[in-house]
Every structure is written in structure tokens, then in C-alpha cells.
């Protein structure tokens, strides 16, 4: 395929020919092309189908504001929908597909929507698919989603990596057009740390698209020369292919660098994209301006584009959108295209200026005070109809039409912190009113519409910004450059019966805006929601201002009174991959491994995530096919002889100081002041509102040193809470805290033979007999011939049990030593499931019971709350509402028929009552099969449960259709007298 529409010159590298496919057909382009420019060079104007009506569309722009030319890039797992053909760089072997069409781009069956357009006006969905309600989810929505859609996903995992990074600078310059380059030169020469971020892959902005000269050389050559100087400065970082996504508080900016999007496959070790967080002392927005279209009937024909885009394609990419071109403008800048295109040898057949008094141009037929009223050529423009100043119409054949309705300064980022732009009559556009404190604006983004003004203000603003942060800079002499006004005369749409497109991405017409007004949706924010104007990937960058200008005309208000919709980040479409970065799959969050992890892996443990921790859930033995077999075995073996469980994950907080006991007495609701040295006590911690927060055991190692344990889940919140108490509530208490969760490896050794096992490894100097080391004792000891350790005689399982802690680096060895010492007792390792079964059998509360809604009273610990002292939550725990006579009590449940079972989450309903919320008697919190009892058991909260022992009730689970008759029993299924743990 030859490049029929390829012109002379341009900034493409003709020595590098790149082959690519579009909808399966092979084309050629050059290095420096985008997909859009290469397709245009190959005389392909039709690039997509519109969202709602499936109208054939070509590119409207030559940049990131593109509404139409969205394509699906690449194949297989790298397939990427909704990529703007106008910014996607060409590489050899690139494959692109058009979207939203079937069976083909030129014949799209859904094009029938266009014929049905009278039914699809704004608000159509809201009005039509309202009834019957059930049809919405099952019928209407799936059909609409299939018909109206953008690209499709590969449904495969993305093979590339995405990174996140952090950068700091004195001055962040957003945009590398004449203003940005001038600012960067000024700041760079002053030695400031500068980041120059440019969305494009070339620096220069419009300088690459225009024929302007700067200092006697071509604009793009000046840009290249400036880039070379900046690149030589160590204090300047040039970031191309980098879009600033948002301006956040205190000079923090989000940026997306498309590191490898222009390559077939990222280079080894390189990410596809990097999401940067930039901390800037000062920022200059030099983001330029975006041209806006004029709406007229059929102004969406492929081949109709913005006038400035025609120039970009011709001057920068050496591509003509068509061989015969017409121009339609309301301003002088629109006229520039005539000369530029003619100079490139393109046949400019007509120039239509809405102004009767516009300047004359030397190209084609020039119609002043005229309008384009219609365009023909379904799959590509072939004719336009012009209404002349005298009211007559005439038709002209052309294959491309450049339209200019003026330029909108790119104020987006100035408004991310709620400031709204102001209307500037001189350029008939919004310009920044106020900006975030650290931001200034220069160049076209600020309404400086000439190259000279951009260069001068860029340098000047840089000097001011740097002065604010104590860096002295001087603006050099502004190089000689173009300095013409654009003389725009506002003109938004051509009055006509047909459909004139305002927002091409969302298929919003002038008529839709009028309808919105007619139906009362007149505020711009309502207009946006009702018509979808300004939504989706382009966020209405070309459509918003014309849309609100038309609304202003309807309401009779001025444009500034009508205002703009709120600008919000991200400025440019950003993939989820970039936001996720490396936080995906197994790296979604950090993994914490217990000290016995390696040993557990060697012994085939099945692991479970508990927060960030990976814990052994059970240890299947050969031949065990169901998890219950392993868990039942671990429970029975522990209760029969001895079992070992890694309990390192429980939070450990070291509490020291002369006021440590006083402190603990205030953070636990039960008494702690008089806990003896060498003793451990169960503690219940309340929130200030009287609800149970956490529980655990705290051991007094010496007069002024305690070791507190928390539940695994609450280790972090409890520590935060304690620091609050220490620093804010009682700042003068002499108490210090440190988390030692990861400093100590801790193992529960449980079962009747646990003491015998430990005696084999505890050094002879330490007597751990029942007499010398009774239940709830604790102490610092040595094991294995001198290794320092801590021993606690505490029991979660209800058996005679100990917890032994050694410095974490000995954790693995300790596990192995314990298992070896236990061999003669048939020791078993047990996981979190067996741990859970044993604590339910014993009636110990855990996270299911301490669920953030329950009080000490509910837990059966009401009397533990000391009324003789101040402690967090004690006062409010006395509130009437928390102390009703029929309050929930934690009790045990077993099935009346022991073959039956029930589930946690079931609610209790009295035998004769209907199963509904009004008859709710409480709920089941924990359920397991007890291998010791041979049937299912449960813990749960039941109204007045403590006084209902022996009664029967129903555990009802309507979700599962379950209902079981259950007997209310003590929560302590095993050893209610506590003889085992004191043995």
C-alpha cells in the first residue's frame, strides 16, 4: 500500500519504514508517526464508530483530546481498548482494530441505531426502559451494553509490569511548548531542580505543528536546540510521554509516564508505565490550548477535523487528511491552515469565514460571512454545503474540512482544587482565575495566544516562581517570534434542522442540549449528567465549551454565568494497571511469614491469610483427603498428648516504666495494678464507648516491665490506641511502649504432656513444675543450653499449656527442637483450624465474638469491669442501653439431634415464633465440629442466654434454607471446671 497522502517534509524519519495493520489490512508508516497520521497518509479517514448511533467517524484532533479515533491496540494479552489513535505511536508490527462495529467498520449492523435516532435522544434510557422493573437487569441493560460500548478487554492477565515512583523538585513545568521550554531554560540556567513533563513524545508543543520561526530558525528546530541545552543540565529532568493527571494538595502532582507504550514489548526490566507522585515546591502550568469545533449538520463525517489538527498532520506528520481541503473558521488562526496546506501542495478549495470582516487569504474561494450547513459522504467526506452571506447555498467537493471555533486554554489542572476559571472576552474562552497556591500559568493555557507572549511569560513566571522559594533567576531576552492576535468572533453552531454534533464521543447533538434545557436540566452539571456531554475518555475537552455556550444561549445567561462543569483528576485516561502498580496478585500487599513458615512448608501445611500473615491452617498427613480429617486428628492428638502451634502473629507490646502498671490498669477494664511479678492475667480492653475492643494476656516480667499480647487482627489498632492514651490522655505517666511482635517467635505447647516436653528443652536451672510454675505463671528463662526465652503458662485450648517465646532468629530452630523433643509423646503441629476448634470447645471468645458490637456484659465478663477505677470505656459501659435485662449473653449451643448441624451467622428464633427480624433472639458467632464430643457445637449471643440453660431454640439460616433445633448449654464444652489447665 502506498502512502498516497504523504506530503514533503515533516518531523518523521523516512529512513525508518514501519509496517502495521489496521483491521487486518497492512499499511506502512514512518518513525515519528501516530496511528492516525499514518492512516491518514494512507488515505484512511474512517477509524471508528460512534458510541450510541454507530456513526462512521475519523479523527477530530491530532492530540490527546481526541473523541473519535479510539482503537483497540495490540493482540492477545496485551490488547488495549480505547487507545487514541492520535497519540498512539507507531511501531513496527503494531496491530490496531477499530471498535464498536460489527461485522466491519464500513458496514456496521448497529448503524441502524442512527436511523432510529429520533428515539435515542438525551434521557432516552431513563424514559424508555423504566418498566417493568425486573426487565432492567435481565434484558435492557445487557442489550444496551452490547450495542453501546467502547473497546473490549482481552480477559487475559496483563503480562507487563507497572511501577510507581516518587520525585521531588523546585519547579515542575507541565507542558513543553514555547512557554514551558522558555520557563525550563530560565529555571535550569538558574540551577533550580526542574522537572519538565510533556505528554507528547516530542518537546515543542505547537512549535512542531506550526511553521512559525523563533530566533530565525524553524520553531521545531528551536525546540530541539532548547531540549539539547536542557538535557545537558544535571538539575533538569525531561520527562516525555508523561501526562500530569492531577494537582493535589500542597504541591503534590500525579503523573503517568508511558515508558514502553511506543514499543512492541517493554525492554527487559522496564515497566510498561510508571505512575509518579511528584512533590513540587512550585509548578508552572504551560499546557497550551485545545481548539474547539463549530457544530453543523453532519459535522462528524470522517475527514472533518479541527483546523489546527489539519496543520499538525501536514506540518509535523507530512500527512494530508485529503487532497482537496476546505476550511471553516470564526477566527484568524483558522485561516493559517490555508497558507500552510497550500505551501505543502494541498489543494485548498474553499475558505469559509463566519465573519464578514475577516482578513483575506490567498487560497481557494474565500467566502466571508458564510457558514457550512451540511456535509456529505457517509464513510468519508466528499462534499460540503455552504450558506453564503447573501443567503444562497452552494456545494463544494472536498475530502477534508478543517474547522476552527477558537482555542480553549487548557485550564483543567488549575481547577483541581475547586477554583473556577473566568471568561476572557478577548479570546472568547475561559482562562484561569485563581490557581493552587504553588501554581502559576503561562502561555496559551493562560490565554497568551501568541508565540512571543508564551516565550516571554514563560520566562517571567519562572523567575517569579523561583523567587518565592529563594532561587534567583533572570529571564533572558525573549527570542524573536510570531506575535499575532487570533481575533476570534464567537460562533458555536449553525442553525439547522439536522443533527449537529457537539460531543462526538458521546453522540450529543445541539438538539440534545436544547432538549435538556426544555426538560429543565439547565445547570451545566445537570446538562452533563442528562446528555452525557463531556463524559468518557476525552472528558469533553473539545465539547464542553461549545455545549455550555449553547446552554447559555438557551437560558439567556452569559457564558461566564453559565460556568463550567467541575474539572477532576485524572486529566488523561489512566489504566488500572498503573494505579495498581506492583500491588497485584501475590504482591497485592506485603506477606508476613511466621518464624516456622519454612518448617511448615516442609511439612505440607495448608496456609491461610490472616491479615498480612500467612499462617498454617492445618498439616495434612498422607492419606488424609478432607481438611476435617487433618483438623480432627490435630485436635484429638493435642488433647490426648501434646500439640504445637505458632502463635507469633499475636501482637506483642512491651510496656515499661515506673507507671506501667498504672497505665495498664487504665487501658484494661479489669484490675491490673496489683498483678504480681511473674504472673500473667487475662485483660479485656474496651473502647471509650464501652464496646469490647480487644483482649489478650499481659505478663508482668518485673516491677516495671510488662508484655501485653493482642489479637492478631488488632495488633496495629491497639498499639495506636495505647499511644493515644499515653501521649494525649495521660502525658506525664512514665510509660514507654514498643511493638515486639516480630522480635519474638512464640509457640503454644498444649496438651497433658506439654510440661514433660518442655522440661526436655528448658535449662535445668528453671523449675517449671506445677508448684513452681503454676497456671498463669510467667518468667524469663533459658532453653537449649543458654538461649534466652520467655515462658508463659497460659492456655487458649483449655489444656495444660504453655507459650514459649525466643528471639525470632531462633524461631525456626525452636520449632525443630520442640518437634524433636516431642517425638516420644507423638507431638503434632496444629494449625489455625484446630486452634479454633479447641477454643470453641473451651468457650473462649475470639474475633467472631469481639466483633465491634459487643460489651463485656454480652461476653459474660460484665463483672470484670472494675467500678473502683477509671479505665477507658468503663464510664460509658454503664449506659442504660448497654445494660438491658434481656441483653445478649454469650452461651453455647448443640444440636438437639446430634446428627444435625448448623452454621455461624444463623439467628435464633424461639420455637413457636415466625422466622423474622421482629422475633430475632440473637445470632450464632462460631461453629465447629467437635471431634471430642462427636457433634457440631457453637457459640452465640442469645437474649438473656445466661438464664436459659437447658432450653431449646431454633438456629435459622434463611439464606441456606437451614433450620436446626438447638439446646442452650454452657459455652464451656470441655473441662468447664478448668482442671486440665491447672494440672
Amino acid at each position: 500500500m502506498t502512502q498516497n497522502n504523504r506530503l514533503e517534509g515533516g518531523l518523521i524519519d523516512r529512513s525508518k519504514t514501519l509496517r502495521f495493520t489496521f483491521d487486518g489490512k497492512t499499511y506502512q508508516g514512518h518513525q515519528g508517526d501516530t496511528i492516525a497520521s499514518a492512516l491518514l497518509a494512507n488515505d484512511v479517514r474512517l477509524m471508528g464508530r460512534s458510541f450510541k448511533y454507530h456513526r462512521p467517524r475519523g479523527p477530530l484532533t491530532a492530540g490527546s483530546e481526541e473523541p473519535n479515533a479510539l482503537v483497540e491496540l495490540r493482540e492477545g494479552n496485551r490488547q488495549e481498548p480505547n487507545t487514541r489513535a492520535t497519540t498512539a505511536e507507531l511501531f513496527d508490527g503494531l496491530s490496531a482494530k477499530s471498535q464498536n462495529r460489527w461485522p466491519s467498520l464500513s458496514f456496521d449492523a448497529m448503524g441502524v441505531n442512527d436511523l432510529l435516532s429520533p428515539f435515542f435522544a438525551a434521557g432516552f434510557y431513563y424514559k424508555t426502559f423504566m418498566w417493568p422493573k425486573a426487565f432492567w437487569e435481565k434484558l435492557y441493560e445487557p442489550i444496551i451494553r452490547r450495542a453501546a460500548g467502547l473497546g473490549s478487554l482481552s480477559m487475559e492477565a496483563d503480562p507487563d509490569v507497572y511501577d510507581k515512583g516518587f520525585l521531588h523538585c523546585d519547579l515542575l513545568i507541565i507542558g513543553a511548548g514555547p512557554a514551558g521550554l522558555s520557563a525550563a531554560l530560565t529555571a535550569g540556567r538558574a540551577g533550580a531542580r526542574v522537572i519538565l513533563a510533556e505528554e507528547d513524545f516530542l518537546l515543542g508543543g505547537r512549535l512542531n505543528a506550526e511553521t512559525f520561526e523563533i530566533a530565525g530558525m524553524a520553531g521545531h528546530a528551536w525546540a530541539a536546540q532548547t531540549q539539547a541545552e536542557l538535557a545537558s543540565m544535571d538539575n533538569v529532568r525531561i520527562m516525555t510521554r508523561t501526562a500530569i493527571l492531577g494537582a493535589f494538595d500542597h504541591g503534590i502532582y500525579g503523573a503517568l509516564e508511558r515508558v514502553s507504550d511506543h514499543l512492541a514489548v517493554p525492554a527487559a526490566g522496564k515497566p510498561r508505565q510508571t505512575l509518579w507522585r511528584i512533590y513540587a515546591k512550585r509548578t508552572m502550568l504551560c499546557a497550551g490550548a485545545v481548539e474547539r469545533p463549530i457544530a453543523f449538520k453532519n459535522n462528524d463525517r470522517p475527514g472533518i477535523m479541527l483546523s489546527g489538527a489539519l496543520r499538525t498532520y501536514a506540518n509535523r506528520y507530512a500527512a494530508a487528511a485529503g487532497q482537496t481541503v476546505a476550511l471553516f473558521t470564526n477566527n484568524d488562526d483558522g485561516l493559517r491552515s490555508a497558507a500552510d496546506l497550500a505551501a505543502k501542495g494541498v489543494d485548498v478549495v474553499a475558505v469559509i469565514d463566519t465573519r464578514a470582516d475577516g482578513p483575506s487569504v490567498q487560497a481557494g474561494a474565500h467566502f466571508k460571512g458564510a457558514q457550512v450547513v451540511d456535509a456529505g459522504g457517509k464513510l468519508g467526506l466528499n462534499t460540503i454545503t455552504i450558506k453564503l452571506a447573501n443567503g444562497q447555498t452552494t456545494r463544494i467537493n472536498c475530502t477534508a474540512l478543517g474547522v476552527s471555533g477558537g482555542w480553549n486554554p487548557n485550564v483543567h489542572l488549575t481547577s483541581h482544587q475547586r477554583s473556577t476559571p473566568k471568561w476572557d472576552e478577548k479570546i472568547a474562552a475561559f482562562v484561569p482565575e485563581s490557581t493552587p497556591a504553588e501554581m502559576s500559568v503561562a502561555g496559551a493555557a493562560n490565554g497568551d495566544m501568541s508565540t512571543h507572549a508564551a516565550l516571554a511569560n514563560g520566562a517571567k513566571q519562572a523567575v517569579t516562581a523561583l523567587k518565592d522559594i529563594g532561587i534567583k533567576a533572570t529571564a533572558g531576552r525573549t527570542p524573536k517570534a510570531e506575535d499575532e492576535p487570533i481575533n476570534v468572533s464567537p460562533f458555536w453552531y449553525v442553525e439547522h434542522k439536522g443533527r449537529a454534533w457537539v460531543d462526538q464521543q458521546n453522540d450529543v447533538t445541539v438538539k440534545d442540549i436544547k432538549l435538556s434545557h426544555q426538560e429543565g436540566f439547565r445547570s451545566v452539571e445537570h446538562l452533563k449528567r442528562y446528555t452525557t456531554l463531556g463524559m468518557a475518555t476525552d472528558q469533553g475537552k473539545t465539547a464542553n465549551v461549545p455545549g455550555l455556550a449553547i446552554m447559555a444561549e438557551m437560558t439567556g445567561k452569559s457564558i461566564p454565568d453559565t460556568g463550567t462543569t467541575m474539572f477532576r483528576p485524572p486529566y488523561a485516561p489512566t489504566s488500572f494497571g498503573a494505579f495498581a502498580g506492583r500491588h497485584r496478585d501475590e504482591d497485592f500487599r506485603p506477606i508476613r511469614k511466621t518464624p516456622s513458615h519454612k518448617w511448615a512448608e516442609e511439612h505440607d501445611a495448608v496456609f491461610v491469610e490472616t491479615g498480612m500473615w500467612l499462617r498454617a491452617q492445618w498439616f495434612p498427613k498422607p492419606g488424609e483427603t478432607h481438611w476435617r480429617e487433618s483438623v480432627d486428628r490435630e485436635v484429638l492428638a493435642t488433647r490426648k498428648s501434646v500439640g504445637i502451634c505458632d502463635v507469633t502473629t499475636l501482637g506483642k507490646i512491651d510496656v515499661q516504666g515506673t507507671d506501667a502498671a498504672t497505665f495498664l490498669n487504665r487501658v484494661y477494664c479489669n484490675a491490673f495494678a496489683k498483678l504480681a511479678v511473674g504472673k500473667t492475667r487475662y485483660g479485656l480492653m474496651l473502647r471509650e464507648d464501652g464496646i469490647a475492643m480487644d483482649d489478650g494476656t499481659t505478663a508482668r516480667l518485673s516491677e516495671n516491665q510488662f508484655v501485653m499480647t493482642t489479637t492478631t487482627a488488632n495488633a496495629v489498632p491497639v498499639f495506636r490506641h495505647l499511644e493515644f492514651c499515653r501521649q494525649c490522655a495521660w502525658p506525664d505517666l512514665d510509660v514507654q511502649l514498643i511493638s515486639t511482635t516480630e522480635a519474638w517467635a512464640q509457640y503454644a505447647v498444649a496438651g497433658p504432656n506439654s510440661r514433660k516436653l518442655l522440661q526436655k528443652i528448658v535449662d535445668k536451672d528453671f523449675d517449671i513444675s506445677n508448684e513452681e510454675f503454676p497456671f498463669m505463671g510467667c518468667g524469663e528463662i533459658t532453653v537449649c543450653g543458654g538461649l534466652r526465652a520467655r515462658l508463659f503458662r497460659i492456655s487458649f485450648s483449655g489444656e495444660l499449656a504453655f507459650e514459649i517465646a525466643v528471639p525470632t532468629r531462633y524461631g525456626d530452630s525452636m520449632m525443630r527442637a520442640l518437634m524433636e523433643a516431642g517425638e516420644e509423646f507423638d507431638v503434632v503441629p496444629y494449625g489455625t483450624e484446630a486452634l479454633g476448634v479447641m477454643r470453641i470447645e473451651k468457650g473462649h471468645a475470639a474475633g467472631n465474638e469481639l466483633n465491634g458490637t459487643t460489651t463485656a456484659l454480652n461476653l459474660g465478663m460484665g463483672r470484670m469491669v472494675s467500678k473502683k477505677k477509671d479505665s477507658i470505656g468503663s464510664t460509658l459501659s454503664e449506659r442504660e442501653g448497654l445494660n438491658q435485662a434481656d441483653a445478649l449473653n454469650l452461651v453455647g449451643f448443640k444440636p438437639v439431634n446430634s446428627d444435625e448441624t448448623f452454621s455461624a451467622g444463623s439467628h435464633f428464633i424461639n420455637s413457636d415464633a415466625q422466622a423474622n427480624a421482629a422475633n430475632d433472639q440473637g445470632y450464632m458467632t462460631s461453629v465447629c465440629y467437635s471431634p471430642n464430643l462427636g457433634h457440631t457445637i457453637g457459640l452465640g449471643y442469645l437474649k438473656d442466654g445466661a438464664n436459659r440453660m437447658g432450653e431449646t431454640t431454633r438456629a435459622v439460616n434463611p439464606l441456606m434454607g437451614e433450620e436446626t433445633e438447638v439446646e442452650i448449654v454452657s459455652a464451656h464444652f470441655i473441662d468447664p471446671e478448668g482442671e486440665r489447665l491447672r494440672a
Binding site: 494538595d249 503534590i252 494525649c728 490522655a729 495521660w730 502525658p731
Partner: protein, 95 residues
């Protein structure tokens, strides 16, 4: 946002955990006759100013200082950052 930590200098607010109004420092006297009312007010009734607000932030991924940050809730301007322990003492809290 950036919080200028009095000991550590400017830090990203991502390192912090937010709690709420500084008045939470002022924990009531449990022995007062109307202690329940006072605690109720302390815990549940707080001003929600559209403007300057003194609030508690915890440097959880830093030095574990609780800070009192004076922040404008409309603009996010931070005008003062103090160590909460010092403020608590100034408010008469001790042991």
C-alpha cells in the same frame, strides 16, 4: 497533603492515620457527678467546622508521635503542626 512534622520535617500525609477533633485529648473526669453525660459529649458531640480545624493525626509509619494539626477543612491549608503531648500538658493533662 504534606504535614510539617515538628521533629521530622515535611512528611506525606499517607504516613499518618487520622483520628479527629483535638478535643479528644480532653478526656472527662470519671468521678464527676455527670460523668456519663460528659463522656457522651466528649465522644459523640463535636464541631464540624468549615474552616480552621485542630485535629489529631498519628504518625503511624513514622515516629509514632500524635500530632495536633491545624488544618483548614475548606482549603486543606495547614497552618500549624504541634506535638500532641505538649498540647495535652498545656491543656492541664498530666498523669
Amino acid at each position: 497533603m504534606i504535614i510539617n512534622h515538628p521533629l521530622l520535617g515535611p512528611r506525606d500525609s499517607q504516613e499518618f492515620t487520622y483520628l479527629g477533633d483535638m478535643s479528644l485529648i480532653n478526656r472527662p473526669d470519671w468521678e464527676a457527678d455527670d460523668a456519663v453525660d460528659q463522656f457522651h459529649e466528649y465522644l459523640y458531640l463535636r464541631d464540624n467546622p468549615a474552616g480552621e480545624h485542630k485535629e489529631l493525626w498519628f504518625h503511624e509509619q513514622g515516629d509514632r508521635s500524635w500530632l495536633v494539626v491545624t488544618r483548614n477543612t475548606l482549603t486543606h491549608d495547614i497552618t500549624k503542626v504541634e506535638i500532641a503531648k505538649d498540647i495535652a500538658r498545656q491543656m492541664g493533662r498530666s498523669k
